[in-house]
Symmetry: C2
Subunit: 332 residues, 2 copies
DNA sequence: CTGAAAGCGCTTACAG
DNA sequence: CTGAAAGCGCTTACAG
């Protein structure tokens, strides 16, 4: 049975050695004979001793915590994207004895993050979404706190891990053009998110490569969740789009509903494609063509990179993960 | 501009007083003249000094972190429910200078949580979902770590915050019976989650109160996300259900899709109701009748209760939050 | 290879 | 009301 909390002193006393030695046995640093080392480890194991992370933190000026900054804005919190990232981050971190603390940030309010940093609660931060003018990025750079972004940054100095949205959107667009659809629409939220600019770039690039011009009146990048989507969809229909590409699954869900109300059937009268095949869309009828990213992998990768930053230098400053285009009923 | 990290010693020296006094000025504990107090605070303010949370933690044996245990099981991570809880928890915690660290637990694997506790990384824990036989609950009780559950527990000793699922489901069911629907179906996942048992109880209670028997062949409580839902829906149709109540929105989305494939129109040929009016369903066509809980409020309340537990005793051991029934197109 | 000692930045009896 | 000192549980030069 468990006694009260043991300390390194208790075990030193028990073993008739100094606590210095115990500490070294545990950390594996400093010269120590294999023999004593084994003895200490054996005792620790059997006594169920666990070092106090706080004390170690104070001595080494480390917390063994990393922060994950997720968007606290209304429409964004819900996205399964961040949950899946979180899953990857937590899983990777736990294996290295790190923990992850959550902090909500907004495009123009990073006060929670500031608190976290000035209170010394974390050794580094993963930024879950990058903005065109990113306060968090600026703040962390200034404070010299290691951080990595999920999603691209304009600043090449920033360590970033991202899916290759430019090429992903380019390939998806290319495939759809190749299928003979000529009036492709693109609909998404603010270009203030860098990821949206990248998607737009891919969309344009694919058109160029196919030797055609993207159609301006079919591109909307200022859609608010639930607000003006209906109006936009109606314009797209009026402007004779033959295929709508949605920049995220939440938007896609709205679009599908709107089309249903308008009695426009998918894919017969309108093709639809989306990003991320979240479960919402995966089981939709008809199934929706989409890009597929391994978001949990992305989370793990970002965490791995951050831990590298904390320990020394990361292997790469900018790392792009793959994607797949998954063709389904909705674009047939 | 910021110099290097300041300590309590620096400011004591600067002010020609002892660090004891500085500490007291900051904490507000111990006798200290209002005058010196003001002086210290003024200096701190202007110098931008922030105490080191780690050091304080070591001295007071506190971390100023709380844990939030969320289900790491596949189908569950995605639910917006937990994100919204998290939002509430983080918001409340941040105001009190606490931070929240995430830990993933599974029905039969709480190793991440164990690590968190034995490493002394948190002062208390919020359990996001309760199981019929809850390992986390047992573990935390044994370790004497303060915790509160979101969702009900079988154990009356446990501090719990929950929506009133029994009465919520009872009222929803009652309303539907009152509308003249006679063959109500109930479909949900495992009764291993206490919340599902509670919903079932409400369903049964409402029938009793109306003087009718619940129809056994229309009740399915072992539905897996995405797996056997289709088969279940077909059985419900065959068994002539006239209204399907879904225990969560993910299930409801599947049900709606299946009905669409089967060319059964809602609400003409089948009524549908769900729990939580998440955005997915809110904008569905037709809009779905559902229960409405304020999940962010629930998160805040659970955090408030936990902080009470950590400081002293909570005001109430079991707290039930309200709900509303929101009637929409789908049950017309 | 091992240990005594100082130190990480706070808090808090204890004594004045 | 204020301060010197010990202590929270570790780590790590420094000396042997």
């Amino acid at each position: 049975m468990k006694e009260k909390k043991q300390t390194i002193d208790d075990i030193a006393e028990e073993l008739k050695i100094s606590k210095t030695t115990v500490s070294r046995a545990i950390s594996g640093k400093g010269r120590i004979s294999e023999e004593t080392r084994a003895k200490v480890m054996a005792y620790i194991e059997k006594a169920g001793y666990k070092p106090n992370a706080i004390a170690r933190g104070l001595a080494k000026n480390r917390t063994y915590n990393i922060g994950f900054a997720v968007p606290g804005d209304y429409g964004l919190v819900d996205l399964p994207f961040f949950q899946n990232c979180l899953w990857g981050i937590c899983t990777y971190a736990a294996e290295r004895d790190y923990d992850v603390v959550i902090t909500m940030v907004r495009e123009n309010d990073i006060s929670q993050l500031e608190r976290l940093i000035t209170n010394n609660k974390v050794d580094g931060v993963i930024i879950g979404r990058t903005y065109e003018n990113d306060l968090a990025e600026k703040f962390l750079t200034e404070k010299k706190i290691p951080f990595v972004t999920i999603g691209s940054s304009r600043n090449d100095e920033v360590i970033q891990v991202d899916n290759d949205h430019v090429n992903a959107c380019k390939e998806l667009t290319g495939v759809l053009l190749g299928k003979g659809y000529k009036r492709l629409a693109l609909i998404g939220s603010s270009l203030g998110y860098i990821v949206n600019s990248n998607r737009l770039k891919g969309f344009v690039d694919a058109h160029k490569e196919a030797g055609v011009e993207p159609i301006k009146e079919l591109v909307y990048t200022d859609v608010e969740y639930g607000a003006n989507i209906d109006a936009v969809v109606e314009k797209l229909v009026k402007n004779k789009a033959d295929c709508i590409i949605c920049m995220d699954d939440a938007i896609c869900a709205y679009v599908l509903n709107r089309l249903k109300v308008m009695k426009i059937s998918v894919p017969d009268q309108m093709k639809v494609a989306s990003f991320y095949n979240s479960s919402t869309l995966e089981y939709n009828e008809p199934a929706i063509t989409s890009l597929n990213f391994d978001v949990r992998e992305l989370g793990m990768e970002s965490c791995k990179t951050l831990l590298q930053c904390i320990k020394h230098e990361p292997e790469t400053r900018k790392r792009l993960l793959g994607f797949e285009v998954v063709l389904k009923e909705s674009t047939k």
